[in-house]
Symmetry: C2
DNA sequence: ACCTGAACACCGTTCAAGT
DNA sequence: ACCTGAACACCGTTCAAGT
């Protein structure tokens, strides 16, 4: 862990360094179009060195995507307010945290849902990716138990929530949600609409 | 327009041919990671020839993305049933058509919303891309006029719809909506949830 | 065990030169 | 006006060889 100024030949923990360097480069560019050679350059090793730790670039991408899902999961559970809060508060807190995560890590978020990462190692079907789905499911189950939400197959509702979060996040990243055409606060509007589709009682405005 | 078997030197309509060839290659792969050189090879010209018609690869991608938005717009308006149908029918028809378009053209759909296409030429802010938004807006306006939908800023509702469509489409493309974990018919569940968030009257199940 | 350096088969892009 | 062919500066990946 302690970095000595001179790394003569052996690097020590190149595997971790490669991932961290690549993660840092993801923040600079929007896409995951960083090059493996550039990563190696920044890490101060030859361009062939990373191949001792990853079979190919796709493997590195997949690992980064998994890391991304872990961070997203953590961001959501952290954002969840302490108990004795209304479900509505929790719903909005988690929703906003999701979008916030995506928009402040656009490169990483894109990578997580890219075909490239998905192909390799079944990233999207891993339990680490599906843990995010679990957060939403728990929230809906609580809502149904409290009678706030309509009683329906929770999985369908969770699917709707995830799709809505993902859609808002990507459209925001593209700048499409910054237009006057979509109104003053599309994020809020989308969350309200979604919640009211899940809620139990009638709302007449 | 009529293709002679021998194209000795001049191609005739290389610009169109390049676009069509690239479009065809988009169907084979999932991503837009086709190479310009391969396009030129298939078109039977040198790898430098396309540069007489497009300043760079990004310009070609942007043009293809615009074409994609035109096709999506057409797919939605075509799917819209003739009048004297309920709004609910229209809503589901358009929703399913949207997802269907994405899942049957994954490469093109990905390209349309990629950062690469977005950067070039303001694709996402073009009226051709926003026409899709218009289809949803019209539908909601009709619903509000008929009293079926809650009266609210239509733009917010349209934003919610678009985000939901986009999210479902992408998650389906990733295979995440084919899991038992998300239930038997997540697409339907998401559409129902969305619609009921927009609707006027109370629903007690 | 871990890393290097040269090598291979590709890219995107440019540009003088051909027709 | 439209296209070619060689060239440049890159990639990802491999592999014998070094420490």
């Amino acid at each position: 862990m302690q970095e000595t100024a001179n790394r003569p030949y052996h690097h020590g923990d190149l595997r971790r360094t490669v991932i961290e360097t690549a993660m840092a480069m993801l923040h600079e560019d929007k896409g995951w179009q960083f090059t493996l050679r550039e990563v190696a350059r920044r890490a101060g090793v030859s361009h062939a060195a990373p191949y001792k730790h990853f079979p190919d670039k796709a493997a590195l991408l997949a690992e980064m995507a998994l890391l991304g899902f872990d961070r997203l999961h953590k961001a959501l559970t952290t954002a969840k307010p302490k108990k004795s809060n209304t479900l509505r508060d929790e719903f909005f807190a988690v929703g906003r945290a999701y979008v916030e995560f995506g928009t402040s890590n656009p490169g990483l978020y894109r990578l997580m849902f890219s075909a490239e990462a998905g192909k390799a190692a079944d990233v999207h079907l891993s339990e680490r990716a599906l843990a995010v789905f679990g957060v939403v499911t728990e929230m809906l189950e609580r809502g149904q138990a409290e009678g706030v939400l309509r009683k329906r197959d929770v999985r369908g509702g969770a699917a709707a929530c995830w799709a809505q979060m993902h859609g808002i996040t990507m459209l925001t990243m593209e700048g499409l949600f910054q237009l006057e055409k979509v109104g003053p606060d599309p994020l809020d509007a989308a969350l309200v609409t979604l919640l009211e589709g899940l809620e139990n009682q009638a709302v007449n405005s």
